[in-house]
Every structure is written in C-alpha cells, then in structure tokens.
Amino acid sequence: MSPDRTSARPLPAFSRMLRLTRPSREDAIAFVILAGLGVVFFRAGQGALAPLSALQLEPVRLDPAWLPYYALRTVLRMFAALFASTVFTLVVATLAARSRHAGQLIVPALDILQSVPILGFLTFTVTFFMGLFPGSVLGVEAASIFVIFTSQAWNMAFSFYQSLRSIPSDLEEAAMVYRLSPIRRFLRLDLPFGTPALVWNAMMSMSGGWFFVVASEAMTVGQTTVTLPGIGSYLASAIAHQDFGAVAEAVGAMALVIVAYDQLFFRPIVAWADRFRFEMTASTERPQSWVFDVLRRTRLLPVVLSPLGAIGRLLLAFEPRRSRRRVVGTTAPNPLIERAWQALVLLSVAAALVLTGHAVMRYLVWHDVLTALLLGGLTMIRVIVLIALASLIWVPIGVWIGLRPAWAERLQPVAQFLAAFPANVLFPFVVIGIVHWHLSPDLWLSPLMILGTQWYILFNVIAGASAIPTDLREAADMFGVRGWQWWRQVAIPGIFPYYITGALTASGGSWNASIVAEVASWGDHKLVAHGLGSYIAEATTAGDYARVALGIGVMCLFVLGFNRLLWRPLYAYGERRMRLT
C-alpha cells in the first residue's frame, strides 16, 4: 500500500520481476487464478450494464446450470459495495480524525447510522437510484449495492477512525518533526496503522453483507418489483414456486461462495495485513493463508499490487513542492469560530428535524406513532427473550469449547462461517413447518430473527473463554472451585466483556433481521407476525413512504436506547471490573 515500499528495497520488486528466470509452478497457478477472475468479472459486468428491459425478458431461471453465473453476479455486488465502503472509510474517517469540526459531525452520525435498520432504506434507495439511471439495470444494481454498502460502511469507518485516534503520540510527533506532508503522513502512518483493524472489520462486515445482498436482490417497492439475477433472487423464485430442490441448491451455492470468498480473498489479505500490526515484539502465531503463500512465491504479486502503489504515487504528485519550514502543532481554537460553528450545526439539526417531522406528520396522525411504538415494544420483547434464550444455550457451550483449545481452534472458524451465512436463506424451511403444523406465526416466526445473529454470541464467548488465563483456571482447580461458584467467579467474569460484545452485535442484528423475519412466505402462504419489523416490511411493499420513515425512526430509537441504556453501561462495567489481563 505504501507507494515507495517496493522501490525502497535494495532490490526493487519490479526488476526482480523482470529478471529472466523461468516462471515457477506457483506463477502458473496464480496466473490461471487471476486470468479466470478477470474473465469472470468481465462477463458479470456485462449483465450489470444491460438495459432494464432485459430483466423482464430474462427472469431468473430455476436451473442449477445458471447458479454459478447468479452467484457471480451476487459476489460482484459484494465486491462493488466493499470497494465503495473502503473508499468511503478512507476519506470520511480520515477527515473525521484530522479535522476537529468534521469529527464533531461525522462521529455521532456514524454512531447513529450504525443503528439504522438497513432494510428499511430500500424504499428510498430503489426509487432514488432508478431515477438516477433511468431504464438501465445499473440503477437497480446500484440500489442493491447501496444496501450492502450501508451494512458495511459505517462500522468500517468507525473502526478506522478509532484506529487513527489511537496512533501513538510519539509516531505522530516523529511524522511532524520529520515534516511528512499530510498525504505522505497518510500513506506512511495512518493507512498502515489502521490496516489490520480495517481488514478485520471489513471481513466481519462482509459476513453481515450476505444477509442484505440476499434480501435486496428481489425487491418489491410499491408498484415496482425488481428481480436482479443473483443467488438471492434465485432463492426468492424457488420460494415462490415452492421448489424445495432449488432452495437446497441455492443454500449449497451460498455455502460454497462464502468458503471460496474467505479462502481466496480474505485469508490472503489478513495474512498480508499482519505486517502492519503495531507491535514491537515478533508474535509467534501469524495468520496463515495458502493462497497468500502461493502468491508470495510468484513474481506476479508485485504486478497485482502495483496499481495500489501507482495510486499512492499519484496522490504524492499532489503534494506541495516544499513542506512548511517550521511545523507548529496544536493551535488554540478561535472561540468566535467555535461558537459560530456550533450554532450552525445546531441550526441545521433543528431545521432537519422540523422539515422531516413536518413532511412525515402531513401523512400521519399521532395514532400512527403510538401504533409504531407499541409494535416496537412487541419486537423488543422478542429480541430480549431471544437473546436471553440464545445466551442460555450458547454461553455454556461456548465456555466448554473455549476451555478446550483443540476444539476452539476447529470450531471458531465454523462459528464465524455460521455468522456469515445469510440466515434468510433458511427461512423457507421454518415457514413450511409453521404452515404444516398450523402454528402461531406471532410466536414461531420469532426465532428467525436470531437465527443468523446468535453465532456472534457463540464465537465471542469462545474467544473470551480461551482468553481466561491458565493460571487462574489452575488456581480455581487447585482450590476446588466448581459448580455455581466456578461460573460466578471464574467463567462469567472471564467472558463478560466478550459476551457483551457478542450480545450487542446479536441484538442489533436481530432488530434489523426482524424486517425480513416477521414477514415470511412459502409459495402463496404468507405469514405475518405482529411487530415493528413487519410494520416496516408491509409499508415498504405498499410504497407508503411516511410509514416506512416512521418505522425506521422508531426502530432507531429502540436500538439506540438499547445500546445507550443497556449495552454500553454493561460494557463499561465489564471493562472496569472484569478485564482479566
């Protein structure tokens, strides 16, 4: 990533590449992989640029032969969204960290955006993007990509911002004393420092993204129904046709895609990013990736990475000719400008509140607000009960696994895979059950909300339990601590901060999932559970913008309230009292 890193080596990577040695076996493998990827993306890209009428002419076919192509389209959407999120992160988070005024706006905005139910957005984004690219598939593609983007960008940006804020002050001072220009500083210090956390966060966000890509490929907004070719629409079509075999095919394809994606894309990047880990001691365990090892042995890696270097050099071309002679650090803020800025921010917030409130309340009465709040309460009860149930099940299992390193090592990736797997793919199976046994949707649709998010609890608990220091466990063993006392004094304090992280993620995800989980269908059978999720989903289908907005607003309130009043205090308490280090 750093532009001159190759040229600064005694033997520049490019000349190494040009040395006329025979290509190795690894070169061949890498070449085939890269060429294959190139062809594949070209093919998929063609579809995205087709006119909109092509979608109507060529509906999704329930033919397994087409599945690879559909899977490809889905993956391409994911990549596009990841690219957009990364660019957004690098620009916005850096701005927030470097400029105090920008930070005052961006940081709280990111915090709130993280709690907004993404699926509720669909109504607005589809309309917007279809207007932006009239008559082209690109508009619908853009809307779908935007949904994935919103599921990734905020927390990636937030994590990068936090990385930048935690850069050790001595490195910042060194950058100042040696007069690195802002661009050079970004390339030499900010970007490398933030990379490991950013990569890890991108990987987790990507897992979350699968859920939304599946949900966003077959959308109905008011009068418009759009079906984009992809695994999600394949699945939707299979459900509509009650084709059980096709559902199974889609599930299998999804699993394959996730494994391939992880092995071919994220593992190598995680292994590569390890060099940027800020640590002064060589760690014993480094992340491994066979793809990265293959690539590293080839002479192709510099070629693959050279565009990144080129971007860096391009940025440096904008560097001022001569850096300022004497750098001066912190300047005292001008109180007048501060005051004016704060007034401006407050004024815009107030104006935005009045405008939206006015627009929404034109179509709504107070009764609607009450209904939304009541339904929000119902969904809240579901979330609380489900998190409690999932905790009762997964905490003991997670602790058991975490205390056995051999098991933990094998099962941790499985739990992460399960978290990445879009649970909405599995909804039809539950719906079939409910229809078959005539169960109450209000009760039995609920578990769907936590189907995909419970794994966050599991793998965080596993991580927490494996982090309990061996000497503490040995001491507990030696004094014969067992049973409830062992849980109370050893296990629970040990996993507490980890558990809270997992439960927070799971509860946020469950709120979001309620929009697709409280309304589910199988062929003509449509099941609806009463709740805020189904309220938003039905308003979306009906194209009722005002109610969608109200639903989103109320859900935001609930999620934010949960975070502020429950999870954060618990987390702070855990950090203060139960951090075992």
Partner: protein
C-alpha cells in the same frame, strides 16, 4: 584560547505554557540560550515541563506565551532540528533503511542520494547488515540506534533528545551514550548542538556541558550547573561524585528557596497540597533501608539511588513524602530519619499503622478533612466525588485525581477511613 562567545543556536524567552483548556501552568517564565558546540541537559522530575520545553523548541507545540526559536547565523543560515524519542517512535511496518530514509523522503531528496546518505548514517551508527530488518527484529538498543541514525541523516543543526536512554537497560544505555559522545567529540556528526531531556542525574553529568535544573509544578529553571570535567568522564571520579551530590542538594534545596514558609514540600498548602503517588510499601522500604546498615539513619540521596536502583525521579517523591510526614528530613543531599521513623522501622504491623496514622493526622490536612466530614455525617459516609470536586478548585483534574488516590491509599493503610471503589465512597465502616 580566546573566549569568543560561540554564536547562538536556540533562544527561548519568557516562555510560559498552560495545558490547553485548563489553567494548569506547566512551564513558567523559562529563558534559555543554547550556543553552538554545547550539549545542554534539561534535568527535572516528571511533570516539570522539560519535555514540553523540548517540544516547543522542536515546533511540535506552540507555547501559550513567549518565544522559542532557532537563531539563524552566518554558519547556519537555515537551522533545523531532529528528534530522538524515548520510545524510539519507529514505524514498525518500515525496514531500518526505510525508517532512516523517512525524513529525506519528506524533503524530496532524490532516491539515489537518499539511499547513499541513509546507508552512510546506518554505517556510522553501527547498524551495518540490519538495513532490511524490521524494528521488531531488533533489540531496544539497536532500535534507538535506528532512531539516532534517522535523526542524524537529515543533517540537523540541533539534535533534541527526549530521555533517549531511559527505556534501555543500564548496560545498553551506557554503550549508546559512549558511542554518541565519541561521534560528537570526534566531529563525525554534522550537528551543532545537542539538547537532552533527562531525569537521570548521572547521565546529565556524564554527557552535558551545562545542566539546567527544573522545578516541578510549575516548571521553572531553578539552577544552572556548568560541568567542566574533561571527557570521557569517570563516574567514580570524586569530582564527578561531588557534582552529582551537589545536584541532588540543589534539587532538594530549591523548595526551601521557593517556599520557605510552607508546611510541605509539595505545591499548594492545606488540603490543596498536590500529593505524588507513593505507596506505603515503598515508604516502608525506604525507611527500612535508611534505618539499616550501612546508613544507620542517615544516607546521601545519590547512594540511596544506587543501592535501591532508583532514578532520582522516583526517589525524590518518596523522600519528600517522608519529610512531609516528619519521618525524615532532607539536609542538603542527605536524608536523615527522625526518631518516629526509627520507631516505625522497629515496630510490628500494628505499631507501624498507628505511627503512620498519627503522622497522617498531624501533617496531611486532606486526611484530616476527609475524616472530619465522615465523623460529622450521621451515615459516616461520603462520596469521593465530593472531595475530588473540592480539590479541582485548587488543581488540575489529573492532579486532583492522583492526590485523592494517594490519600485513599494512605488512609486505608492507616485505617483512618474505608473506601469502596465500586461505589466511589469513603466511609468509617471497618476502619477500626
């Protein structure tokens, strides 16, 4: 030899600095002139603002008042600085060579030139063969050599060093110091002057031509010592020892000059006294050390620092706390135990606690204050927040927090009051 005054390189005039947003004064009216060809040491304890002064000169901080500037002269028309950090401040993702090239790269020196100069600097500092190593592969001493090479390669007129050897073990630090002094005295480095921040008295006497002693809270220059001993200097040389003792005495004496009538040695009076974080265990350890052989109740600070393996920076707060509690008296560079302290050294746990409680009750007004409030209240409880707020009227938030922590520690040990961290409350329950 004619005594032509060397041209000035650094000028600091009437420099005052407040921590931003607070009215806490870090540096007060500091004046300093640094001529070419000298090594000057800034000696003081943590919190004396010496690092702040260094950063003002480096241009990293803009002082609240006064000026700190580099003086252009006929020999150095465009003076520049480079800095060596206590924590090395190496970029872990860059190799040794890339780290050294950092400053040249920022100055847009052409690649070939940059490479040649960096390799020469690496060679000079004795890191041959490690050009392509990453910092994490190096030992602490080698890392600091990289920091030094990175600073030297940009040809600075002034080299600023912020406690450059304090993160290293004793042997490594000694080797690095000697190497730097050799390079300096042989004129193999282009730097005109060195300004070094330290809290290690011996280090200052070993390296510097001139030492400025700083007081704490706020930082002021309270003494200037010229070191005329020839290089290389010998720690065991009686003149060297005398100078070290003299500096210890000056660092002790300054409080009597600035605050002759005050009750304690710490800034502030009454409950507003800022107390350093000194544990009761280390106080007991110090009393036992001075009480035992060979000191028998009277020890020189420099000998104590040696025998306890403590930096002056750590020893001074402990000795001054003993003085505050009337367990010891600082006479020049000598620490002399009082009869109470001798009794303490001989006492068992309960007697020690009783003696300590008595000393606290008589000489630490904040302890008396907390106890009085607890006694007056029917519940015999009071939130710690209340006292912290009260302290913040007199001192910065950080100092208030530290002072209250210290008093809590002492009060709990002496069983004058109890404290519940969870609830952040003082109480009298199980205090007896």
């Amino acid at each position: 030899m004619t005594a032509v005054p060397k041209p000035l390189l650094v000028e600091v005039k009437g420099l005052r600095h407040f921590y931003s947003g607070q009215d806490h004064l870090v540096l007060d009216d500091v004046n300093l002139e640094l001529a070419q060809g000298e090594i000057v040491g800034l000696l003081g304890r943590s919190g004396s603002g010496k690092s702040t002064l260094l950063r003002s000169i480096a241009g990293l901080i803009r002082p609240s008042e006064g000026i700190a500037r580099l003086v252009p002269g006929p020999e150095v028309p465009d003076p520049s600085v480079a800095m060596v950090f206590q924590t090395f401040a190496l970029f872990p993702w860059l190799t040794v060579l890339e780290n050294v090239e950092l400053g040249l790269e920022a100055q847009k020196v052409p690649a070939a030139d940059r490479r040649a100069r960096s390799l020469a600097a690496i060679d000079l500092i004795g890191l041959d063969g490690f050009e392509n190593a990453y910092p994490k592969e190096l030992s602490g001493g080698m890392r600091q050599r990289v920091g030094l090479a990175r600073a030297l390669v940009v040809n600075p007129s002034l080299l600023l060093m912020d406690e450059p050897f304090s993160a290293l073990d004793v042997l490594t630090a000694e080797t690095l110091r000697t190497d730097l002094l050799d390079l300096w005295s042989e004129g193999r480095v282009p730097i005109k002057s060195i300004l070094i921040v330290t809290h290690n008295i011996e280090e200052a006497v070993l390296m510097c031509d001139r030492i400025l002693v700083f007081s704490t809270n706020p930082g002021r220059v309270v003494g200037e010592i010229r070191v005329d001993l020839p290089q290389p200097r010998d720690r065991l040389d009686p003149a060297f020892r005398a100078l070290v003792d003299d500096i210890y005495a000056r660092m002790t004496a300054r409080t009597e000059i600035t605050a002759p009538m005050r009750d304690g040695l710490f800034p502030g009076t009454g409950i507003a006294m800022v107390l350093p974080r000194v544990s009761t265990n280390s106080l007991a350890g110090l009393i036992e050390e001075v009480d035992g052989t060979p000191f028998d109740g009277r020890a020189s600070m420099s000998e104590l620092a040696d025998s306890l393996q403590l930096e002056a920076d750590e020893l001074f707060p402990m000795a001054e706390t003993l003085q505050l509690l009337r367990f010891a008296e600082l006479r020049g560079a000598q620490l002399v135990l009082t009869p109470a302290a001798r009794r303490y050294a001989q006492g068992d746990v309960d007697q020690r606690k009783a003696l300590f409680a008595q000393a606290l009750g008589q000489h630490v007004p904040l302890v008396q204050h907390i106890r009085r409030v607890l006694d007056e209240r029917a519940s015999h409880e009071a939130p710690a927040r209340r006292f912290r707020d009260e302290l913040e009227d007199y001192m910065s938030e950080d100092y208030a927090d530290e002072t209250l922590r210290t008093v809590t520690l002492w009060g709990r040990y002496a069983e004058i009051f109890a404290y519940d961290e969870e609830a952040d409350r003082f109480s009298l329950e199980d205090a007896h």
